[in-house]
């Protein structure tokens, strides 16, 4: 694609892509650390994760300001307009993902000294999946690849199923032994948060498809299998 005749505009749009990625990288890291703080029973890491959420929020505000500046000064059209509106929406999702990582870290703090209900097998797997989905959705954003974005949308089913499965399993523990209820509920919150991260990654991926195609696939009864 040719460059903008207005170089500062071009530079600002490039900068926008970079900060969205920076925010995305940070948020991915937050997911990994939060889950690790849980599985490794590391309260220090959990606290560090909670603290770092401020940085995520700061970048969120920075991106909002940059987008508003671009909208006000350049009256963007077509793809540029979609890039800016997509960035605005993507960062809202990323900010929420950051919050969820933070919530997971809070549960990690609470569970650090408690006896385990069961071995951490499914939650790390869900954590990896969630992080992968965020990573892929941002990759799709950078290279503007709708096919890759669609893969993310489809991966959401897997994480949903894992959450359902864990729900049933934890429910059976709680029925069997009410003393596990507090711990099991906390684990269920972690699972729910990871499942929600998958939903937000899906939102990002859907926005990428809008960015490239100019058509929204959100809120369709059935998600397209291919583009």
């Amino acid at each position: 694609m040719p460059q903008h005749t207005d170089r500062t505009y071009e530079a600002d749009l490039a900068h926008l892509r970079t900060v969205v990625l920076e925010m995305g990288g940070l948020v991915e890291d937050q997911i990994v650390q939060a889950v690790r703080a849980l599985t490794e029973r590391d309260p220090a890491l959990a606290r560090q994760t909670i603290d770092r959420d401020h940085t995520v929020n700061r970048i969120d505000v920075e991106i909002d300001e940059l987008c508003i500046k671009l909208l006000a000064l350049h009256q963007p059209a077509a793809r540029d307009l979609r890039l800016i509106t997509t960035a605005l929406k993507i960062t809202t999702d990323l900010e929420r993902i950051g919050d969820m990582a933070s919530h997971i870290a809070e549960r990690a703090l609470e569970l650090a000294d408690e006896a385990p209900v069961k071995a951490y097998v499914d939650l790390p797997r869900m954590g990896d999946l969630a992080r992968d989905m965020v990573h892929k959705s941002l990759d799709a954003f950078v290279v503007e690849d709708p096919a890759l974005a669609l893969e993310v949308c489809q991966a959401d089913d897997t994480i949903d199923k894992l959450h359902e499965q864990l729900f049933r399993e934890l429910l059976s523990f709680m029925v069997e032994d009410p003393s596990t209820i507090t711990r099991a509920m906390r684990l269920l919150f972690v699972s729910k948060n990871l499942e929600r991260i998958g939903d937000h990654a899906t939102n990002i991926a859907e926005m990428v498809i809008f960015l490239v195609r100019g058509q929204s696939i959100r809120h369709m009864d059935k998600r397209p299998r291919e583009l």
């Binding site: 009256q75 077509a78 100019g214």
Partner: protein, 268 residues
Amino acid sequence: MPSPTLIEPTAVPALDGKPIALAVRDLTVTYGSKVAIDRVSADLPERHVTALIGPSGCGKSTFLRCLNRMNDYIRGVSITGSVRLHDEDIYAPDVDPILLRQRIGMVFQKSNPFPKSVFENVAFGPRIHGISDTVRLREIVERSLHQAALWDEVADRLDASALGLSGGQQQRLCIARALAVEPEVLLMDEPASALDPIATAKIEELIHELKEHYTVVIVTHNMQQAARVSDYTAYFFLGRLVEFDTTQRLFTTPSRQETEDYITGRFG
């Protein structure tokens, strides 16, 4: 820059069944050996605003001028193809260009009021077309000035010289003058390019009101203005019609790369 792909000369962009005011087919205009318009076909919808955009020299003004035969005056010009106003060929030998321009009025970039009173400027056209009754002329002048959103500002100085009005008022006076002969179509060539933002906003507001009664075709260099005032937009490049679509689609999801590059400010 590579030569743009074009809407095939015979293909006419669809109008979603809207009534057509002007139908242009295979219009080609050459000045000597220079091709200014290259096989352009388009339907311009009735009582809508169509904006013509594109870089300097793309042919948009030439296209506009073909719509009321203003190019007839230019030496060495050759025009082929057809332009039909409500199914009537405006280039047919029996068409009187003066009468045609009553039906298809024009407003220019630089306001050009006659050095006469406000009243006489607006009454000029109707007088030429044979109206001499003073009461009738007064009615026409008042109606036209109302339609041009100028009445309130000049009602008490109809006999003052038009040259004493501000630039924006002069431009609206020219619009009133064009409306006085009750045209069907109003062509506007950069009508606000010499005006300040407030006067520009008034002209744009006026264009919104005019489309209730008139078909408006406007040439503008200001893409935001095209986006604000028009229902349909035609993008011209190197004498060709590259894309014609509803303004919303053209500015959000244009179907051609050349259009996208132009409206997003990638001028090569």
